[in-house]
């Protein structure tokens, strides 16, 4: 096997790609909102947490799987829109630092609501656990969820690309993320564009919630927080201002996380966050504007 060195096996590789795919979706979700609002949504992880809890409750109440997933989408979308109305809108004109801290506050609030309502031990999202069973692909056993994650991520990214390039809403969103003020002057409705971005971002959070809850099974109030921090790092690494670099950045850090988690021996894997974040620092020092952006781009706005 080519990947035999570093005791990297195909299943580990597949898990890395799958995690990379989910992180890429989250990266796009965070990047879209950043594009139109200049707002880094730290509470994105809590949207995913809420979706995962919806799935867990769905399976507890004996919903069929499609109904649980629908319920998850409903909860995440509802929460996204609520967040937009209550927090993003009133703060839209404020400095990025204030908005970031505000989303920090929302994250803290939602996490503590979950802690108060569901307890620290969390719930099990059991009904989709069958997807952890492996598929035999040419003699290599790969978890179903890994294949599904990759397929779902690729599908979502293609649909999103079509939405952004082929529809009026997508055009408006791209215009708004280039220059919000000028876009408004030219008659683009700010609220509609922002709502569009928030809803698409929420949909991506719901998809990520389904994928992550299958992989991690137990849903606790801190579910998704660490993932969000990593994705944020990945997004900044890739280059926050443009969707494709941001996606690549998210994918890279998810891939690295999945691979290293599988490859490192137990006594070193506890230092996995240190390795990842050390790499983040090094990359930021070498390419502060992002790994996948062309040098000499526009000055950073935040």
């Amino acid at each position: 096997m080519i990947l035999g060195f570093l005791n990297l096996t195909w299943p580990t590789f597949a898990n890395g790609v799958a995690l990379g795919g989910v992180y890429a979706l989250m990266a796009v979700g965070i990047g879209l909102v950043f594009g139109v609002l200049r707002l880094v949504n730290f509470a994105y992880g809590q949207l995913i947490m809420a979706g995962a809890f919806a799935l867990a409750f769905g399976s507890q109440w004996g919903f069929p799987n499609w109904a649980s997933i629908l319920f998850c989408f409903g909860v995440v979308l509802g929460l996204s829109v609520l967040m937009d109305w209550l927090v993003f809108r009133p703060l839209r004109t404020h400095s990025p630092a204030v908005m970031l801290v505000a989303t920090f506050a929302v994250a803290f609030l939602l996490q503590n609501i979950a802690l108060l309502a569901f307890g620290p031990l969390g719930k099990s999202a059991g009904s989709l656990a069958i997807l952890n069973a492996p598929w035999d692909i040419g003699g290599v056993f790969i978890k179903k969820i890994a294949v599904i994650s990759v397929a779902a991520a690729a599908g979502c990214l293609v649909i999103l690309q079509l939405l952004l390039t082929r529809t009026p809403l997508g055009l408006h969103m791209r215009a708004a993320s280039m220059d919000f003020r000028t876009a408004r002057l030219l008659g683009i409705r700010a609220n509609r564009v922002i709502s569009g971005a928030v809803i698409v971002s929420g949909l991506l959070a719901a998809v990520s919630a389904v994928m992550l809850s299958v992989q991690e099974l137990t849903v606790v109030p801190a579910f998704g927080t660490q993932d969000t921090i990593l994705v944020l790092a990945g997004v900044v690494l890739g280059g926050l201002n443009r969707p494709i670099p941001a996606t690549l950045g998210g994918f890279s850090i998810g891939f690295a996380n999945g691979i290293l988690g599988g490859v490192l021996p137990a006594n070193q894997s506890q230092y996995l966050p240190s390795f990842l974040f050390a790499a983040v620092i090094v990359v930021l020092l070498v390419r502060p504007d992002g790994l996948f952006t062309r040098a000499g781009g526009t000055a950073q706005r935040v």
């Binding site: 970031l100 944020l232 900044v236 690494l237 506890q270 974040f277 620092i281 020092l285 935040v302």
Partner: protein, 346 residues
């Protein structure tokens, strides 16, 4: 004239800290724990203010210096026979070195400052979100290593048997030192230069100010104060140094922003108000009497109210409760006042 007017700028924060300490002496020892905790939080938030407030750069990394300070003061004051039991993997140097209370605090500040300087050397070149994420990375790495590395401390366990020397006075003196250092710093030319870079980096650089050097100085100073606060914290209660991470970052940042990150007064007011409220609600989970009316709230309410309050303050008053201003006496109306104003508002 202006010197007299400026007296309350340091006096107001100092009196607030002293008042909290004096109030803490009056209450029962059960409630005193909350006052001690609040005084430590004041010190931490002031340390945050020195860098974030003056430079306008958001840093998530300052709590890692608190953690390092706590680690330094903790690992150097646990008695050696205790270390052999609770930290069997400890490196020889750390095992045999023991210092007193004051020395451990001084070393905590020194280690915090030195580490901040070291980290800041490369990191202060970054700005904006890249700086935010990089400081976040520092926080994650520090807490990860402190949590799992058995050769430097108790790892996942809290430091036990650290002499609990932090009483009301030690906590208050710590807070006062932080406030005084922060005040003196912001009055020096270095503080003013950094504030100039906060308002307009390009103009400041054009005036000959090295943005990098000024930020680095404030970062290191803030790290030293954070280290001191961490040392005081570990002498107050058993702490797991690696656990001083995301939650504490969040809470202290919230205090700074709610109080008003632009002023020393804002840092102190934010810490007192939020931690006061937080303590009150935490105490209320075991029933408190408010003017003869007994109040019990379910546990977790404190965090909930804190998050809600912070969101509300940010939405309604984004510059914070103090609006980022120091307290100063009203100036007399004179023609010269305009000139004064231009100077005083920087």
């Amino acid at each position: 004239m202006s010197a007299v007017r400026r007296i309350p700028e340091l006096l107001a924060p100092a009196l607030l800290i002293l008042g909290t300490a004096l109030l803490g002496l009056e209450v029962s020892s059960y409630l005193q724990a909350y006052f001690l905790d609040t005084l430590v939080k004041v010190a931490i938030v002031i340390a945050l203010y020195v860098f974030i407030g003056n430079s306008g750069v958001l840093s998530f990394g300052q709590i890692s210096f608190v953690a390092l300070g706590a680690w330094t003061a903790g690992v150097l004051t646990v008695p050696e026979d205790q270390k052999r039991v609770t930290m069997p993997g400890l490196a020889h140097f750390l095992l045999t070195t023991n210092v007193g209370n004051v020395a451990s605090l001084a070393l905590a500040a020194a280690v915090g400052g030195a580490f901040a300087l070291l980290v800041g050397l490369p990191l202060m070149r970054l700005s904006g979100l890249a700086a935010g994420i990089a400081t976040f990375a520092v926080l994650e790495i520090t807490s990860n290593v402190l949590t799992y590395e058995q050769s430097i401390g108790p790892g996942l366990n809290a430091f036990s048997a650290v002499p609990q020397t932090t009483g009301i006075w030690q906590a208050a003196v710590g807070g006062l030192i932080c406030a005084a250092v922060a005040y003196v710093y912001q009055r020096t030319r270095f503080g003013r230069m950094l504030r100039a870079t906060r308002e307009d980096p390009a103009a400041a650089a054009a005036a000959g100010i090295s943005v990098y050097r000024q930020r680095l100085l404030a970062f290191a100073l803030s790290g030293a104060l954070a280290g001191l606060a961490g040392g005081i914290y570990v002498h107050l209660q058993p702490l797991q140094a690696g656990g001083l991470s995301l939650d504490l970052t969040f809470i202290t940042l919230a205090m700074l922003v709610v109080g008003g990150s632009g002023s020393l007064l804002g840092a102190v007011v934010g810490a007192l108000v939020l931690n006061g409220l937080f303590s009150f609600l935490s105490a209320a989970t075991n029933t408190v009497d408010v003017f003869g009316w007994s109040l019990t709230v379910p546990s977790g309410t404190a965090e909930l109210v804190l998050g809600l309050l912070m969101a509300v303050v940010l939405i309604l008053r984004p510059a914070g409760l103090t609006g980022g201003r120091e307290l100063s006496l009203p100036r007399r109306r004179r023609p010269v006042a305009d000139l004064e104003k231009a100077r005083a508002t920087t």
